[in-house]
């Protein structure tokens, strides 16, 4: 679990990421997003299997901000969602390295599972 900013830690030191954290970082890889856009992005990408509530989302964002993986990108209104000003979040270079490292780790696991024929083979 990501807890505190540690200067000079390699990206691998943050792994494995909790699923919600990984989904948030993947959503932010598209660019700056506000809270609800992150939630929608996660739900769409996971085909509805991962649904973040506001508490889980902002709890994770708080930890990611403290760890230096995400930074605030300022406040502005989303034209699609009315006049209310919303806080935007974006990945830091460290956050991008960490999400890439986690994606590689998961990819290696999936390839291992495929080699063992645990996935990618239709049951007889």
């Amino acid at each position: 679990m990501v807890t505190k900013r540690r200067a000079g830690r390699p990206p691998e030191a943050y792994l494995p990421l909790p699923p919600a954290t990984f989904h948030i970082l993947v959503a932010l890889a598209d660019g700056e997003l506000h809270g609800y856009a992150i939630m929608k992005g996660v739900a769409a990408r996971s085909e509805g299997t991962v649904r973040l509530g506001p508490g889980t989302l902002y709890g994770s964002l708080k930890r990611l901000l403290e760890a230096g993986l995400v930074e605030e990108g300022g406040e502005r209104a989303d034209p699609e969602r009315g006049d209310e000003r919303r806080r935007y979040y974006r990945l830091t270079p460290l956050g991008l390295s960490v999400v890439r490292a986690e994606a590689r780790r998961l990819d290696a696991m999936v390839r291992a599972a495929r080699r063992k024929k645990l996935i990618g083979v239709r049951p007889a």
Binding site: A13, G35, L52, G53, P54, G55, T56, K62, R86
Partner: protein, 197 residues
Amino acid sequence: MSAERIYRLLLRAYPPDFRAEYGREMVLVFRDQCRESDVRTVGFWARVLCDVARSAPALRAEAWRARMSDSTRTLEVIMKLAAVLTVLVGLFGVLNAVVEWVAGSKGAIDGRYVIAVVLGGFASVLLLGAGVAILLETRWGRQPARLAPFASLVSMAAAGLLFPWMSIFSQLVGFGLPVALLIALYWPRKPSWGSTP
């Protein structure tokens, strides 16, 4: 009561600092959710309650740990001051033992006098070591810091028993300070030195 008001009440489950920082954003997100969902369904409120029940205790625990960490820092400052005092007392004790030895060596020295001076010098060196170990904050410093006050307490007690004429000041320095240090060192807390990330 509107859904938003109910949600604002539920937000009280979160730590005040977190609420102050993210409460407004959370309400905005909840408002967006309400626009795109049917708030009259049980499923909607089950998801909301589940989210609060899952995230609020974890954030409360984090806030509590942060507060504990702050009090640990205060204790460390007190321990640093105690360590400085211990170093000064240790230096004074070593000097005193040397002066006593020089003064005693001019006349006839009996065995009890030698034991008293040696025990006093030994205890002072241990106190000095304990103070330095705490001040240096080395990875291994915690062990001598634990051992030295204890050994100091034992040797001072031995000196006190052998020589009941010891002054109250000597008794206080000999017994009070090591005991205070022992309590400070064994007080349950998160160690701040020697721990790796």
